[in-house]
Symmetry: C2
Subunit: 351 residues, 2 copies
Amino acid sequence: MRYGSAEIVPPDRRATIKEVAEAAGVSRSTASRALTGNGYVAEGVRLRVRQAASDLGYVVDAMARSLKQQSTRSIGVLVSDLRNEFYANLAAGASRQATRLGYTTMLIDDQGIPDDEVAAAEAFVALRVAGVVATPVSAAATKFLLRQRIPVVEVDRRFSDGECDAVVIDNRGSARAVTRHLIEQGHRRIALLIDEDDWTTGRERREGYVDALEAGGLPHDGDLVVPTGWDVEAARDAALELLRSPDRPTAIFAANNVLAEGAWRAAAELGLSMPDELSLAAFDDAPWMSMVTPGVTAVAQDASAMGRAAVQTLLERIADPGAGTKTVVLSASVKLRGSTVTAVPRDVRVG
Amino acid sequence: MRYGSAEIVPPDRRATIKEVAEAAGVSRSTASRALTGNGYVAEGVRLRVRQAASDLGYVVDAMARSLKQQSTRSIGVLVSDLRNEFYANLAAGASRQATRLGYTTMLIDDQGIPDDEVAAAEAFVALRVAGVVATPVSAAATKFLLRQRIPVVEVDRRFSDGECDAVVIDNRGSARAVTRHLIEQGHRRIALLIDEDDWTTGRERREGYVDALEAGGLPHDGDLVVPTGWDVEAARDAALELLRSPDRPTAIFAANNVLAEGAWRAAAELGLSMPDELSLAAFDDAPWMSMVTPGVTAVAQDASAMGRAAVQTLLERIADPGAGTKTVVLSASVKLRGSTVTAVPRDVRVG
DNA sequence: ATATATTGTGGGATCGATACCACAACTCGT
DNA sequence: ACGAGTTGTGGTATCGATCCCACAATATAT
């Protein structure tokens, strides 16, 4: 872009609406109306202002705007670990939906650390976000946000039941369905590999597992519920110990994809062939589960859809702050694969 | 929290510094100094103000602050597809580093769409971010941001060479190393599965591939460079066709993890055993590559470290806008696995 | 005792955009 | 020709926090 022979150099200060107004020969009020479309402006003037704005490379200052308007078009998204694809997909779904609906997203990864979660909540308040979508790791952040009158939607798990909206899947029902499937395959000793009991996810998955055992008339053997750490190594170690014991289970139900990876590695290490020597089922489908041989039976949750639904719910709440809280329960499907069956039937849908 | 017998209800308006000042019996100026720590405040007064702020649940309005200060403590992160774990890890690394250094992150997923990328850039300008980290899909967004005097760090690939900082890995060298490895395994017909040539990533990986062929005295057969779409399906189809041809290659080098998945599925479908009937190597290590049997040889880039380095570079640039642009080249390692070798040696480091 | 630092506080302008209100110019019906 | 309505524009206060500057009060030096 050249004017005469001189290269255009951008000014060192950004243009303000005042400069746009002067360039167009109108007042700031008129310029504002021309650019935002709120209020009367003659067509010719509107064009002149638009042209001046574009010439000057004017971009509205969202700070000044939202300071005046006392509201922002941005939402906060708080997830526990972006490197875990479940959260990444959730964030992607939320972010895209927000963009689609004209909101910008402030994303914070709190690494599952409660203190960081509260710090993130404070940052969101400082930024005056219109609302927050969070996968909570404690009740503190949500409480803090709600006290500040900022709408919150809890996703995946609940810490503030009834106090805010939520988007979850039917953990209990899905866990029950998978466990029932294992029972139907003839298994009598089915272990549950689980990392926590404090979150609704862990608790409900465990309840579903117990439900199915009871419905199937199987004893609920406490030794078969194996608590473990949250990472692959811990899960692998726990699974190794479990599978080396004399009365080892014939099937393992891993409560999430990380634990499933640990179990898978343990089984591979011990040379146990699936599904005959050991069956494995997981909560949370992950790409590798359909890449390995045999594939791993898993409950597939659409994390991206959860993110979308959460943003949707949040914006409805923003539009109507007075409405009663609601919980959206999304369905999940069980992907049957070679780790539990020899002839693989088509997907089963639950929830 | 109860006072007397009445439940405390939060006020419907958020507290401002003026209210904090009044509660503490000081002026707004003093309250500001007490809270920010800029300027003189008597110790007793500081405590009184802090207490008042905490009682009122005061949280600073970042909008008002940055409007006055004409600067923000937030950066923009622009990635192409959060569902792709490469970008997710990159974003996680960037986000965490930013948080660590006292910045908040605005994350946008532009889905690899140039128009969305430019829209995202405009949103960043409106929000007056201090800088932007981006995996560019065209030159437009970066140019726009630079014209607005907003520092940009391009990550993974370059569109604005020399005009801004960048963080990349040694694509050419890594591709050369992998291809050389395949040649050393005795392969003479090595196909390159690649989805694009317009980005520095694709171009350099291809150059590295060609380098190695030439160095190994092999003919550079154009038919062995297979262009394909960017998704798994397209890659699988291309690989299927390639592997069904009468003079099929004995090795495939997939230019990224998505294409590798397509190739893997194609090989599985055709029942080709690895590494004897077919060898497969990939650029971009993904979790499934170490879960499957045999494992897939791959160039492992530390996406999280790239994100960290990008934020680091960005903040240095913000601190010293006048310095010459720099390009940070991170190293990558080649993970040798069963898809190319029978006895698996330890990792080879390149770059 | 007076001059000079030091310590501490408040007043008021400022950042950029918006939106209410007043008002001007013009159209139209009677 | 006059009042009522429509169309269009500008002046000004405002959002919340910061920070420069003036200035008061006290401490220290000469």
